[in-house]
């Protein structure tokens, strides 16, 4: 693979004037997949390739950096932002922006761009896939067959999908796409959102607990903020109940993970389909033994097609920035 900017880490004054420079602390997945193409359009300052500690690297080499490209696994806290006096743009190859100190960005007039709706379909598909999987024991069944079990009539029954009351937590673009799919299966959709959406035909519940009480399934599709941190707590899980299921494709910390694990181990909820965790890539050991849980390594967004669209959107945003054009998918960072 052509490492176009190996020299960059050691000698930034040899930067070619033709290609704009973008800082990367740790390489996002889409960068690794489409590195060659990215390098045809930009030079990258590769902090992770340096032996210097990050702070020192930034102070030494990144003082004139205007654009930073990251993903949701790399936090961009205030102190990092302050080490980059020329920073004007952060592009993240994720939908979520909770890993970026938005307050600091607002203070400094730094724009943030995400990849908005690129992932919407993929994430919605995985949410439904995880739900069918946990209800109908697809992965548990696959494991059963692979283990050589021959007594197929012994395998436990699943749960029917049709007629289930599905509560969507956060009815943004992803939540809406999940709802649309589940309606085709005969599910009854209701939701909880910051604000009621009058144009939507689904029943709105003012708080998550009430939603849980009236649902067989909860699907977490909201963003992680101070308000939503550990929003799915003991009370909500208890309201969801023994025959209730939860699917999380948003952010691990929206759920009180310790409490969730306890409920699953003790049979206080029916099961879970999880694409995200509080401390990725670490998954609580207790979950590995459970058959009523489906575990996914935060792959909700990783398909070939979407990876391509993501590349186009990230490079499109970067290019727009460097040409003084409006960003394609700017995140509105108002109070």
């Amino acid at each position: 693979m052509h490492h176009c900017s190996n020299k960059m880490a050691s000698s930034p004054d040899k930067i070619s004037p033709e290609l704009p420079v973008v800082l990367i602390l740790k390489p996002p997945e889409v960068f690794k997949v489409h590195e060659e193409l990215f390098c045809q359009r930009f030079h990258f300052l590769r902090a992770w390739e340096s032996t210097l500690p990050t702070d020192q690297f930034l102070t030494t080499y990144a003082q004139s950096i205007q654009a930073l490209f990251c993903n949701s696994f790399t936090p961009i806290p205030a102190h990092v932002i302050r080490l980059l006096p020329s920073l004007r743009l952060i592009v993240t190859s994720s939908v979520g922006v909770n890993h970026i100190d938005l307050h600091e960005c607002r203070r400094q007039g730094i724009k943030v761009a995400n990849i908005a709706k690129v992932f919407t379909d993929d994430v919605a598909d995985i949410a439904v896939g995880l739900l069918i999987d946990v209800l109908r024991k697809v992965s548990a069944g696959d494991q059963y067959v692979r283990s050589g079990s021959r007594i197929w009539s012994d395998f436990p029954l699943g749960y029917k999908l049709g007629g289930k009351r599905v509560g969507i937590v956060g009815l943004g673009s992803i939540g809406l796409e999940v709802a649309k799919r589940l309606e085709a299966f005969g599910c009854i959709v209701s939701y909880n959102s910051r604000m009621k959406k009058p144009s939507v035909p689904f029943l709105h519940y003012a708080n998550v607990c009430e939603l849980a009480l009236n649902s067989d399934v909860l699907i977490i599709c909201c963003s992680l903020t101070e308000q939503t941190y550990h929003m799915i707590n003991r009370e909500v899980l208890s309201a969801l109940g023994k025959h209730g299921f939860i699917v999380n494709i948003a952010r691990g910390s929206i759920v009180d993970e310790k409490e969730l694990v306890r409920c699953l181990v003790q049979g206080e909820i029916g099961g879970a389909g999880l694409d995200v965790f509080a401390d990725e890539p670490n998954v609580p050991d207790d979950l590995f033994e459970l058959e009523n849980v489906v575990l996914s390594p935060h792959r909700g967004v990783f398909t070939d097609e979407t990876m391509w669209e993501c590349y186009e959107l990230v490079s499109g945003n970067l290019e727009a920035f460097f040409s003084n054009k409006p960003l394609l998918t700017m995140v509105h960072n108002d109070d």
């Binding site: 995985i126 896939g129 992965s139 069944g141 696959d142 029954l157 749960y159 085709a184 990725e280 390594p297």
Partner: protein, 329 residues
């Protein structure tokens, strides 16, 4: 003291007043609790019953539990048989042609399972395209912190999905996949006039124009090994196949070879040619989802099934039209 055979022949009602049904249940299906579900409504007769030699001559209806075979030999033992009530959607285990020749009607599970099978087929498709089951194994094996990344999957939206057999199950699958942005086409015995999805005359053409094939048609002499080497080649390297019909619809040996040589992209299989035997080569593959013939297993399906079976049995005894009679082909 045994009643005279004419009494039995006339009313087919035994001393309890319950109508007599021959309970035909292979060893494999002993676990299905039909006796519990319907035993109080009908008198169930089995070969092991002491009254079997007498009553076998006069019993008029057979309940086929699970996929227990109903062959000529069995029909020979029940000379008064007028009806076979099946408990599955597929009836390839029943010699329907022979039943027809003897004037014996056959009923199936009708639509009892339709939604559950459709849901499951979609679940299998997502699982194979998005590698859900292999990723779940990856996490459980503790590989995530070690290896970090897991291979990319394929997006559902925009995929051309070819439905093989657009019956009730196929239609329900199509309806669900449309909500994901899939593009549906189909092949069926005959083109369906009221359906707007593109129809392909041959399964080969359907495969050539599809990214995924979902097999949900009936198994007959004509559809045996319908999905053969040619069809798999037409489906191609990035194509996937989902089977919720019957194992023999696919040439299993060819399928295994195609998967091993990367000639098709993946498969999700709920049925096999020789259940519960699964080709060993498949156990090692990560682009395959394996399932123990359970597309129908939800409690709700079984309730619906019992309703259909009771409905068909009651209809038989009351000389009313059946709920789900199987038309001989």
């Amino acid at each position: 003291m045994a009643a005279t055979s004419s009494e039995f022949h006339d009313s087919n009602i035994n001393n309890d007043g319950l109508p007599l049904v021959f309970y035909h249940c292979g060893q494999k299906y002993r676990g299905i609790p039909f006796r519990e579900w319907i035993g109080t409504r009908y008198r169930l007769l089995e070969p092991s019953d002491s009254t079997f030699p007498t009553l076998s001559c006069s019993v008029r209806v057979l309940l086929c539990v699970g996929i227990s075979e109903v062959t000529s030999e069995i029909l020979d033992q029940l000379p008064s048989l007028e009806c076979v009530v099946g408990s599955s959607v597929g009836v390839n285990h029943i010699d329907v042609a022979e039943c027809c020749r003897r004037g014996i009607k056959v009923t199936s599970a009708g639509d009892a399972f339709t939604e559950d099978v459709a849901d499951y087929a979609v679940g299998l498709l997502i699982a194979v395209l998005r590698r859900l089951s292999s990723a779940d194994r990856f996490v459980r094996d503790g590989m995530w912190p070690v290896k970090g990344e897991y291979p990319l999957g394929l997006k559902l939206g925009g995929k051309q999905v070819g439905i093989v057999g657009l019956g009730s199950i196929g239609s329900e699958i199509a309806k669900r996949l449309e909500a994901f942005g899939c593009i549906i086409a189909y092949n069926s015995r005959k083109k369906k006039e009221l359906v707007t999805f593109p129809y392909y005359e041959t399964i080969h053409d359907l495969a050539r124009n599809s990214d995924a094939l979902i097999v949900c048609c009936t198994l007959t002499n004509e559809t045996h090994h319908l999905i053969n080497k040619e069809v798999l080649t037409a489906l191609g390297k990035t194509g996937v196949i989902v089977n919720v019909g019957r194992g023999p619809l696919i040439d299993e040996k060819e399928l295994v070879q195609s998967l091993l040589h990367g000639e098709i992209g993946g498969a999700a299989l709920d049925v096999f040619e020789n259940e519960p035997h699964v080709p060993e080569e498949l156990l090692a593959l990560n682009n395959v989802v394996l399932s123990a013939h359970k597309a129908v297993t939800t409690p709700e399906s079984f309730s619906a099934l019992v309703r259909v079976i009771v409905g068909n049995l009651d209809a038989f005894f009351a000389k009313q039209p059946f709920l789900s009679e199987v038309e001989p082909i």
